[in-house]
């Protein structure tokens, strides 16, 4: 049977990808960011999964205003790297796991979550920056990836509560897959940031760290936090953090299992406009 061995949480700031692609990682500004991932890169070399179920959001890349799916699961064999206006990032294409993705879709939809199935989709920095942060610059990603795109661009976005429940349905789906795969679930985006208007640049360290504490210790109550609190306290784009609750909902303790081990925790301000948060939890 497949099993989820770990969940990884990280911001997916595009400037982090640009810093890697343009060879700026040694600059003091960026060293402070990448220092928080040195442990993670060593860890993942020893804990490389077969498949990453990667929760992220599309930033007006594959989904324009023509179609706005709330939850979209990638069921394709592979995904091209998107040209977001600067040209595609120089990173390997992403290889999917269509069989497991189809299995998850079948299970999760029958568990009352209305997923959109996507067989053609370019992936943007939301998906590639987390891969770069953990795996560095590689010729091919060392595992398969199932992209799971959440609408956090056009309001209303799904509630934290629904994301947390969805994570539970995803765990059930993965654990009913016959092949003995080692699966990670990653939740990306955040932490506090606002990219628009005169309030741009908002950062809330206290709220972010409280979010990390609660995500680890009491995710069920964290999932009850309404949208407006994210907007008010963590900035209009801080609402991306609801995606972390999908990954957290898929951990064993939520279904009555053991509490996860906190393998790594990191927080830093700033990367470009954003507070960077990063956690590794192991089942």
């Amino acid at each position: 049977m497949a099993r989820i061995t770990a969940s990884v949480y990280t911001s997916h700031v595009p400037a982090i990808g640009a810093a890697m692609d343009l060879g700026k990682t040694h600059e003091p500004y960026w060293q402070k960011v990448f220092a928080g991932y040195e442990f993670s890169r060593r860890w993942i070399r020893e804990h490389t999964p077969d498949v990453i179920f990667l929760v992220y959001n599309d930033h007006a890349t594959s989904f324009s205003l023509e179609i706005i799916p709330t939850f979209a699961i990638g069921t394709a064999a592979e995904y091209a790297i998107a040209d977001e206006g600067w040209g595609p990032r120089p990173v390997p294409k992403v290889i999917g796991h269509p069989e497991l993705a189809a299995h998850i879709a079948q299970s999760v939809i029958q568990d009352d979550f209305d997923l959109t199935l996507v067989n053609k989709m370019d992936v943007d920095h939301g998906l590639t920056v987390p891969l770069s942060l953990l795996f560095g610059q590689v010729d091919a990603w060392p595992c398969k990836v199932i992209p799971f795109a959440v609408n956090v661009v056009q309001y209303p976005v799904p509630s934290g509560r629904r994301c947390f429940m969805l994570g539970q349905a995803i765990r059930k789906a993965i654990e009913s897959y016959d092949e003995p795969l080692n699966v990670h679930i990653w939740g990306t985006g955040g932490m506090s940031h606002q990219l628009q208007g005169p309030r741009a640049g908002l950062i809330n360290k206290e709220w972010d760290n409280r979010f990390l504490d609660r995500l680890i210790e009491d995710p069920a109550s964290l999932a009850q936090v309404p949208h407006i609190e994210y907007v008010r306290e963590a900035g209009s784009e801080g609402i991306e953090l609801v995606m972390w609750l999908i990954a957290r909902g898929a951990m064993a303790d939520v279904g009555g299992g053991r509490r996860p081990t906190v393998t790594h925790r990191f927080y830093h301000v700033p990367a470009s406009n954003t507070a960077v948060g990063h956690l590794i939890l192991e089942n």
Binding site: P156, L195, G201, V231
Partner: protein, 145 residues
């Protein structure tokens, strides 16, 4: 019955909801077109002519030409779509976000390095934080990209 919009009292912030999205549909779709290199070339060659191919309002076109992202957002734009204009101009997300505060690029970058904008006084309209309407613009920038 009117929909509940609890987010209209957050200063300096426009939530991109279905109503804004409807208003900004063509503005945002124009931005999407800039993801194709050939369209970026055509837009840069003659911005006005390229914009006139789209059923956008005059206000939306003027806001784009002026690179005034606050005006673009008021006209229904969303920052992730508007970012395609910035990318076409070779500007970073930090330059785009900073342009909306009225600060210079340097002033905004320094604020971020110091830990970002405080939430204190900026949670609700009528408080005394630096994002409140009566405290704009915040710096010595030109307010455009």
């Amino acid at each position: 019955m009117a929909l509940d919009k609890p987010y209209t009292d957050v200063p300096g912030t426009t939530i991109f909801d279905a109503e804004q999205s409807r208003k900004g549909y063509w503005l945002n779709q124009f931005c999407m077109s800039l993801m194709k290199p050939e369209n970026r070339v055509r837009f840069k060659a003659d911005e006005r002519a390229y914009l006139d191919e789209w059923p956008m309002t005059d206000e939306q076109k003027e806001a784009v030409l002026a690179r005034d992202l606050n005006r673009c957002i008021a006209a229904g734009g969303n920052i992730y779509f508007l970012a395609k204009i910035g990318a076409t101009d070779g500007k970073s997300f930090q330059q785009m976000a900073g342009s909306m505060t009225g600060m210079t690029e340097e002033e905004y970058r320094d604020m971020m390095v110091r830990g970002g904008r405080s939430v204190e006084g900026n949670r609700r309209l009528g408080e005394d934080g630096d994002a409140q309407p009566d405290r704009q613009p915040q710096g010595h920038g030109k307010g455009t990209l």
